[in-house]
């Protein structure tokens, strides 16, 4: 089970990012739990300066703008 956190205050792109993660995980058949982190202090605690950010299993892999599907696949399938 991959633990994915989407960091963002709830803007349109953050919602889109969460949907992209879910879609890519479904396509690859990887079980994921997606949690949206909307608290500003918590977001800043991850050390990013642009949203949406993506954290996979505790590691920040992306910050700022929509991710690319190919990158998402790489992050989700990495051990």
């Amino acid at each position: 089970m991959k633990d994915v956190k989407v960091l963002g205050p709830g803007c349109k792109r953050c919602v889109a990012t969460a949907a992209m993660v879910q879609a890519e995980a479904d396509r690859l058949g990887i079980p994921v739990t997606i949690e949206k982190v909307t608290d500003y202090a918590a977001i800043a605690g991850y050390g990013i300066a642009a949203t949406p950010g993506i954290v996979v299993d505790g590691r920040v892999v992306h910050a700022g703008g929509l991710p690319k599907a190919a990158d998402l696949a790489g992050w989700l399938s990495a051990a």
Binding site: C11, Y40, A44, G47, A49, A50, V61, A63, G65
Partner: protein, 360 residues
């Protein structure tokens, strides 16, 4: 700038995507072709719009005709210019990221740090919904408060949309003037806020937060990736601003067709001491992005309004807005927010007077 091209240094670069040679060259060729087609259409706009306006069943020389001519010529022109500028800047911006900018600015001394922050504010991609994470991310990582403010002031006020459209519609002299004086406001205002030592006026949760900076493993971007970044910027920014632009052009067309030059010259000319502060006070609560305000700037200048007054109005509209204040209130105490607005407003008014005196 070269940092972006260095190979990923850390452990966890995402797997590189395989790319066939034919596939890599095609987008490049397409991009060049698209720019060529753009140029051809752009050069035909003026004769085409003149012809289109002549077909309209409206009396020549009438107010309505003047307004329609402005609207019909400016709408495709502004949209095309914006498209090209946004695409090119999307490519340039793929070399920058807020995280990289922050790493560069952290621990900088004020002074030079303010200059660097204002300059990077132009180039670093950042949307207003990211303002709070960006502000908190900067301050908690050790970027001085005044330097952070220089970035925050420059970023919405001077951007590719503003400069590109000013350049295309009003001329390079005005664009260069706006760039130079906008940067000055951002640098000086940020420096002053830094000198006042107002860190204690941040909201408590921001003050107490100490975060590490994250080192994102960015994969090496190819030319095709950068073109894709440009197209993504095009889709994103165009989708957000096209309505503002049409509204702005409509306002500009109304001014161009109906507002008497004598009246406007009197109110927004350089004769009265109060015209600059009045323009700024009107501009602060107005929320529009740069793209929407520039057709208005074009029309005002065409009617004999003074350059300093008009540019001060534009700076006030873009740099200070009610929605941004509401967002920033989450991290700034009311006192600090008031100081920020006051210092930026004074800076903009000063620029207005200075330009009116220089270009009188």
């Amino acid at each position: 700038m070269t940092a972006a091209t260095t190979p990923p240094a850390v452990c966890c670069a995402p797997a590189a995507r395989p790319a066939a040679p034919a596939e890599t060259r095609r987008p490049l060729v397409l991009a060049v072709l698209a720019v060529a087609v753009w140029c051809i259409i752009y050069w035909q706009l003026e004769p085409f719009s003149t012809w289109a306006v002549a077909q309209l069943p409206v009396a020549p020389g009438s107010h309505l005709k003047e307004a329609l001519a402005f609207f019909i010529f400016d709408t495709p022109k502004v949209l095309m210019l914006l498209g090209l500028v946004v695409f090119l800047m999307g490519v340039v911006r793929s070399f920058f990221s807020p995280e990289r900018t922050r790493a560069f600015l952290a621990g900088r001394h004020e002074g030079l740090g303010n200059v660097a922050a204002a300059g990077l504010g132009i180039l670093t991609p950042f949307c207003s919904c990211s303002a709070v994470p960006l502000f908190v991310g900067f301050v908690s990582a050790g970027v001085p408060l005044g330097v952070t403010f220089s970035f925050l002031i420059a970023s919405p006020m001077i951007n590719e949309v503003a400069l590109g459209l000013l350049f295309g519609l009003v001329g390079w002299q005005v664009a260069a003037t706006y760039l130079a004086f906008g940067l000055s406001v951002a640098i000086v205002a940020g420096w002053v806020i830094g000198q006042l030592r107002l860190e204690g006026w941040l909201e408590a949760w921001v003050r107490d937060l100490r975060s590490s900076t994250v080192d994102l493993a960015s994969r090496h971007l190819s030319a095709v990736d950068r073109i894709e970044a440009g197209l993504e910027a095009l889709r994103d920014i165009f989708g957000r601003v096209w309505l503002w632009i049409i509204l702005g052009i409509a306002a500009g067309a109304f001014i161009h067709g109906y507002v008497p030059a004598a009246l406007l010259g009197q109110i927004m000319g350089s004769d009265h001491w109060w015209s600059v502060p009045a323009a700024v006070l009107i501009g602060v609560p107005i929320y529009s992005n740069a793209a929407g305000i520039i057709p208005v700037v074009e029309a005002l200048l065409g009617k004999g309004a003074a350059l300093g007054t008009v540019l001060a109005f534009m700076m006030a509209v873009t740099a200070l807005s009610a929605p941004e204040m509401i967002i920033l209130r989450k991290v700034l105490s009311p006192r600090l927010l008031a100081v920020f607005v006051a210092i930026v407003t004074i800076g903009i008014v000063a620029v207005g007077y200075l330009l009116n005196a220089l270009f009188a």
